[in-house]
Symmetry: C2
Subunit: 165 residues, 2 copies
Amino acid sequence: MTRSLGATDFTAPIDDRWFDDYVEGAQYEYGLLTVSEEEILRYAEQFDPQPIHIDPGFAVSGPFGGLIGSGWHSAGLAMRLLADHYLSKVASLASPGVDELRWKVPLRPGDQLRLRATVLESRVSRSKPDRGIVVTQVELLNQDDGAPISFRAMNFLAVRPAQNP
Amino acid sequence: MTRSLGATDFTAPIDDRWFDDYVEGAQYEYGLLTVSEEEILRYAEQFDPQPIHIDPGFAVSGPFGGLIGSGWHSAGLAMRLLADHYLSKVASLASPGVDELRWKVPLRPGDQLRLRATVLESRVSRSKPDRGIVVTQVELLNQDDGAPISFRAMNFLAVRPAQNP
């Protein structure tokens, strides 16, 4: 079970969280998620069957000195922490995409991972004022503070509905 | 079993393919990969448990009129076609990341998917002349030519070793 690791968290719970609750400059951390060799192999056999990801014998003599996880597996792990803790369960509309996705250090079996999410930008849509766009710097960090993946995510979120008087 | 769909494919087989074989302007297509509702649910339950991805009942009344796959599932499917057909099994060194990742249309159960890979740029490293960087525009296309995912991938690849005389 993962949880908030930071000094602060959203005051609004994830099932009553709206565009308005994503404030520029806010930073949150969630974790810890661990990843096993078996999970790395299972992901890679399905989606990324390169020798460095599926063949521990080959990988030990390779450039990383052992098996490493697919970069897209790291993306999935980051998404899991975003879905469980950061991204509203009621206001999330869609994501047009992400920018500057980087794999700075390998994902390795036994890694203990946490997510750091920083709200870079938050603005109401001019054409559709019932929603806004939130830009988030997402970093998945390991036990040595290296980042197996980082990216800048864009998300459309509905604004908080008007309360009845 | 997926295969080359285009008029042309690499002349070098994937297990003897090197940096030199990625020529600017070349474009290849591979497929078809199908995705089922069960696969969409299985991915999302593990990595992206948002209602629109894991709850068909909720999703039918949602903005997309039905269940849609996680954007990161689309990334995994694109990677599978890249690994099976495009990315050298012997010369691939690592990828520093991707840029401009976009989810233009939803991934839906029953989609028949193909990969289009276009070599945008190919240049030998100045600091390490035994390798080069290849920049590829990657598009995963569905049966209507919509792109559930596209991105610009960077890959380091070893140059072809010198032949003995």
